[in-house]
Symmetry: none
Subunit: 141 residues, 4 copies
């Protein structure tokens, strides 16, 4: 058998709080999703004013980042016309997200979960996701 580490709900709360603080700071209400390393949802928040369409997008960004162990914007680059992963965006019934805003959460080299953010520009979504991870890593001491 394998032993794996994964985010728990307390960790998810720290990720959410860090992301939410950054979203408030930049003035963009966000949908924020946290998944475990198996891609399964642990926690979700839609801030007041967050987009309805972003609910699924945030969840799927987090699913992609944790399940594929890769930032979604890396897929964005790799899936441009002519690039090797062109066309991957519609995989898994469209759940495979190639738009920025999904990041794996990595501890000691292992992916333990993911965070997905949506409602702003992809650059804003990435910034907010990074803030969530920064808060989480800071709390690891």
């Amino acid at each position: 058998m394998i032993t794996v580490k994964r985010l728990d709900l307390a960790d998810a709360g720290i990720l959410l709080a860090g992301a939410r603080a950054k979203a408030s700071e930049i003035g963009v209400p966000m949908c924020i999703a946290i998944t475990d390393e198996g891609g399964n949802l642990v926690a979700f928040e839609r801030m007041d004013g967050g987009k309805v369409t972003s609910i699924t997008i945030a969840i799927d960004k987090s699913f992609t980042a944790s399940g594929a162990k890769k930032a979604t914007h890396e897929y964005g680059t790799a899936s441009q016309p002519g690039a090797p992963a062109y066309g991957i965006a519609s995989a898994i019934s469209g759940r495979l997200m190639v738009v920025g805003g999904g990041l794996p959460v990595i501890v000691d080299g292992d992916v333990v979960g993911g965070i997905g953010v949506s409602s702003g520009t992809p650059a804003q979504d990435i910034e907010v996701a990074e803030a969530g991870i920064a808060a989480f890593l800071a709390a690891q001491g």
Copy 2:
């Protein structure tokens, strides 16, 4: 035009906390989802040990309760063989939940959102959802 009242994220946090406290008290880690009056997800938590299958079920119970303005267990009764709503359980690609654990959140006679709980028995799920609503109503003063 219409003005609607709906749960905000702060309200969702109160509903989650009330439900989580009851789940801890009865010793059943739960998936808990909060939707607004449009049936759209506002917040979600999978407590440590909550079932993976219950992620979607909790979200869909809340979707059903807020969207249909009815407790999911009412549909359970109405959808028995020979009853008027027989077969409704597979509607909306199976999102229409008829198992107990989804309750509308009602303020001054208006449905302002929903709560959906899953991982225990339907009776436990209902008990935890009710505790969430009780906490919310108490906070309304």
Copy 3:
């Protein structure tokens, strides 16, 4: 963070072999699926003559058993007309299986994965799934 134990591919191979041997013994070619504790597929085999419709059914039985930490036939009982979980069978886009043949794989009290079997009668499917688990547990020493 949480540390979880889960089936690896070698474990899945033992589960498959145990189930396949029993299927051959009773003369019913089966579809056999193995999932980890997060409900994600680890291995699958359709024996020659196994049913095409059983591919998804076996996978979803295993998903249900591992994700809900419960045998699928328990849901069969609990979801009869008039019973508390009536209507659950169409949940998660129909992935929630209530037909026998899905069993959680349990080690030291923890669900570490699941096995799902389909192509025979539910009683045959359960017998084959149990044989897979027996082979796995015997190999744990």
Copy 4:
């Protein structure tokens, strides 16, 4: 009536073993799927460390290659902007894969099945799929 040749489970095992050996050699744990000429899954393995998102992708690459009798990377070329099959990637609810890693298995000019590999770069996925086919063809004597 037509008589078709198709992979059996023993063949699938040879394909899997050949692919797995190459994946180990290049150090990339893969998801590997084998389908018959009808596009239906015969066998699947997720090597330890294979990506969760690659489960469906590997299965769909194999489905595409066997069902369309064409390597998925051929669709990648044909579906570029301005090319004749532009947009095909989202067909069949996104199951039509245009990313490399899916190959038809051909015997005496007939497609008898497919192999789909995912978790590495498309080039690595193709290399591993080719190794599976090479092992299969070698065993045909």
